[in-house]
């Protein structure tokens, strides 16, 4: 332990702690801006400077580690004066149109102004160029508001490994930009939006869809249908002052009814459907290869009821729910795309079903339908615009709102969210099991798939306590395990004793590691779950800012609590899933499924 004094307070902290963190742990807050816990400590903005006895210059406390006997002052006149000058200098190149900025009252620079109580801005001079890049379908960059803190650069490069952002030019001309300063929409950006989540000001935001949705809601000609992703319900409350992880499913549904949506469905229904389709696809891939390799006979294949394909297929199979991950794969691993499940992501599946099956049973003209998805995700905005995700020329989903955008609409509509009475989703596309809830968290899709696939193969429930696959839970970057199949049903007897390697990762840096193994032919896995954002959809690019480790854990707990509170916790037990196969889809991987629920991927360039 290191002993030092901060503001004359004697404290003790472990070696390697920065002054900023040591102070925080002892109830002393040092104002800061570019620093972001677990993400970045670079001492770039200088706001966190402190006085250290014996050192002639002020030190950035986020990058200066404590030393034995150190004497630190964080609020001396010298420090306060310097901090204000630094703040004023940042403001000298920042617009002061706070009242009409979308980060108004949710801006770190603004909050800092309140803390520092700077009464005047003495410096005025040349301003950086005003460039707004709205070329991307998901993320908008407003350089005018950028304070060059580099959090987005660090996140894009080190946390996500996508590496499209960097500091370009020098001195006053410096900007955060892309290679060749290309518009974002022309780069290999995955639209994950993690940069948007860490931006302290209004320089990075999602592409607005609220206006489009308002217009649709006001149009009497259109039937406006909404669906909500699993991770939204444990984060939306934060925008109204609730703790992260608070479950607001009922209030969320109520607010959607109050906003005037004609039908309120749940993407979770399609998550259950995804498990049936994707689980069957996994078994089909396994059986196909075993059959074509001559390990099992035609007789054995027939007993499983699964039709094998005519050519060998790629294993391991990787999940396909995360559109950030999909675009990443298309750019960075174009030769490994056949490993990705052909299942559309759940909200696109539901969109396709709404405009086909639901249109049929409700008698609503699908051309007059406007389907809105509420997602924790910015990449879904790009996904919804994919040409290959249309049926009969119609988009499966017409607009995607992030969790943040929904909160804005609720506030704008004057809905008293916290005092709403809980309401339910609508049937038949609104009922889901606990397996669908956990789609929102890393390891969840894997667990949900295992709950169903294991039962199909063995006729018994997944042998894990509380149905939770422990090794797939938690926030480690890469998680792996082996599931041994014991005493399968007669149809699957050839799988007796088989050891199935599984892995899950969240955040694209982990995906790169697992894909590199596949590329080299060294992957020990059969089934891999990849989610584009660290922690999964709970910390998606469209979720309330800031997503710290603590926030992630709370949202994760919220998701598991929701799952455990359900009577039905396995996708195949959802009675409406059974019904939709009986009445409409016929069978998993059947003709209708292929047409409506499956897709293909596009090889793209890295540079």
């Amino acid at each position: 332990m290191i002993r030092l004094t901060i503001n004359n307070k004697a404290i003790e902290v472990p070696e390697g702690t920065s002054i900023l963190e040591a102070a925080k742990a002892n109830s002393i807050l040092i104002p800061n801006l570019c620093y972001l816990e677990d993400v970045q400590k670079i001492g770039s903005c200088r706001i966190c400077v402190v006085e250290v006895k014996g050192m002639p210059n002020l030190q950035a406390s986020c990058v200066t580690n404590v030393k034995e006997g150190m004497v630190v002052h964080t609020n001396s006149q010298r420090v306060r004066k310097a901090r204000r000058v630094i703040y004023e200098l940042i403001l000298s190149d920042h617009p002061t149109d706070c009242l009409i900025c979308e980060r108004n009252q949710a801006c770190e620079l603004q909050t800092l102004g309140e803390i520092l109580q700077v009464g005047e801005t003495r410096f005025s001079g040349e301003r950086s160029k005003i460039i707004v890049d709205d070329s991307s379908l998901a993320v908008v960059r407003d350089h005018d508001k950028c304070i060059l803190c580099r959090r987005c650069v660090t996140t894009c490069n080190e946390i996500q490994g996508v590496r499209i952002l960097d500091m370009i030019h020098r001195g006053f001309a410096s900007t955060i930009s892309t290679g060749l300063e290309l518009p974002l929409g022309e780069t290999s950006c995955t639209n994950c939006g993690q940069c948007v989540n860490v931006c302290p000001v209004g320089a990075l935001k999602e592409k607005d869809a609220t206006e489009m949705v308002w217009e649709a809601l006001q149009d009497p000609e259109r039937t406006v249908i909404v669906q909500t992703a699993p991770a939204v319900r444990v984060a939306l409350g934060e925008e109204f002052g609730l703790e992260p992880g608070s479950n607001v499913t009922g209030k969320m549904a109520a607010s959607l009814w109050d906003l005037g949506f004609d039908h309120v469905f749940d993407t979770n229904f399609a998550a259950d459907l995804t498990i049936i389709e994707e689980g069957t696809e996994l078994l089909q891939r396994l059986i196909t290869n075993l059959y074509l390799d001559g390990v099992i006979t035609e007789e054995q294949v027939k007993k499983t009821g699964i039709e094998p394909l005519t050519e060998k297929v790629a294993l391991p199979m990787i999940t396909s729910c995360s559109p950030g991950w999909i675009k990443y794969a298309e750019h960075y691993f174009p030769d490994q795309l056949e490993h990705i499940s052909t299942c559309k992501s759940p909200h696109m599946m539901l969109g396709a079903l709404i405009k086909s099956h639901f249109a049929e049973i409700s008698g609503i003209d699908p051309d007059k339908m406007f389907v809105v998805s509420i997602m924790p995700c910015t990449a879904k905005k790009f996904e919804a615009n994919r040409e290959e995700l249309r049926n009969d020329g119609r988009k499966n989903v017409d607009a995607v709102l992030t969790t943040r955008e929904l909160a804005k609409m609720i506030k704008d509509a004057g809905i008293d969210f916290l005092n709403l009475q809980d309401r339910d989703f609508e049937n038949p596309l609104g009922i889901s099991t606990g397996a669908a809830d956990i789609f929102g968290v890393t390891g969840g899709v894997m667990e949900a798939a295992l709950r169903t696939v294991y039962e199909i193969v063995t006729g018994r429930e997944l042998p894990f306590e509380g149905l939770h696959v422990g090794p797939m839970m938690g926030l480690d970057r890469i998680k792996s395990a082996t599931v041994t199949i014991e005493n399968p049903t007669e149809a699957f007897s050839f799988l007796d004793g088989a050891e199935v390697g599984i892995a899950s990762t969240s955040g694209l840096a982990g995906a790169a590691t697992l894909l590199a193994e596949i590329k080299e032919g060294k992957s020990p896995y059969t089934f891999i779950e990849i989610m584009g954002c660290p922690g999964g959809c709970i910390s998606g690019g469209g979720q309330p800012r800031m997503t710290s480790e603590e926030t992630r854990i709370k949202r994760m707990k919220g998701i598991y609590t929701e799952d455990e509170s359900k009577t039905l916790r396995k996708s195949h037990e959802n009675p409406f899933i059974t019904k939709i196969y009986e009445e409409f889809l016929e069978k998993p991987l059947g003709h209708k499924s292929h047409e409506l629920l499956h897709t293909h991927y596009i090889k793209r360039k890295k540079y």
């Binding site: 590496r163 499209i164 960097d166 370009i168 020098r170 930009s177 290679g179 060749l180 890295k606 540079y607």
Partner: protein, 164 residues
């Protein structure tokens, strides 16, 4: 670098890219050698354009944004074609005090370009340098590899006439 300069005059684009690949191989694709690779690239192509940046990024497995970032940080590098002659005006402290800025302003006026730009006839590109080590003889400038010292505004046109 001068060897590369001699050889590239007669090369076509394909040979230039082959030479660039050879340079990258010689530098073992190490990220720490990026600046050397970029120097060679500029010698081979005259500037480091979009295609060249893409090739370097791909072959060295570096982010394209990193390449653009390094290129735009150092004023020696150019990402657009440059003129036949490069005028570098010294604005180091000594030259600046001795009148480097009026020299630069005059050049901008008669060439009709800003710093970092090239004249339409591709004759001159204008750059600034921070100290060329001729502090006692400022203000000074360099055209290609020739140093001009103790300048005054009125003599500038005469110097430019020497370069076609």
């Amino acid at each position: 670098m001068s060897i590369a300069t001699c050889r590239v005059d007669t090369m076509d684009e394909q040979d230039k890219f082959a030479l660039l690949t050879q340079v990258i191989e010689e530098y073992e694709r190490k990220p720490s050698n990026l600046i050397q690779v970029l120097h060679y690239a500029q010698s081979i192509f005259g500037f480091v354009g979009a295609d060249v940046q893409r090739v370097i990024a791909q072959k060295m497995d570096l982010p394209l944004a990193k390449i653009t970032g390094v290129l735009t940080f150092y004023s020696f590098f150019s990402t657009a074609p440059r003129g036949r002659h490069i005028i570098s005006v010294c604005l180091g402290t000594a030259c600046f005090i001795r009148g480097g800025q009026p020299i630069l302003d005059h050049l901008k006026e008669i060439l009709g370009i800003d710093v970092g730009e090239t004249t339409e006839d591709q004759r001159f590109s204008l750059e600034i340098r921070r100290c060329i080590g001729a502090c006692g003889m400022g203000p000074s400038l360099i055209i290609d590899e020739q140093v001009f010292k103790r300048l005054n505004v009125s003599g500038i046109e005469q110097i430019l006439d020497e370069f076609e």
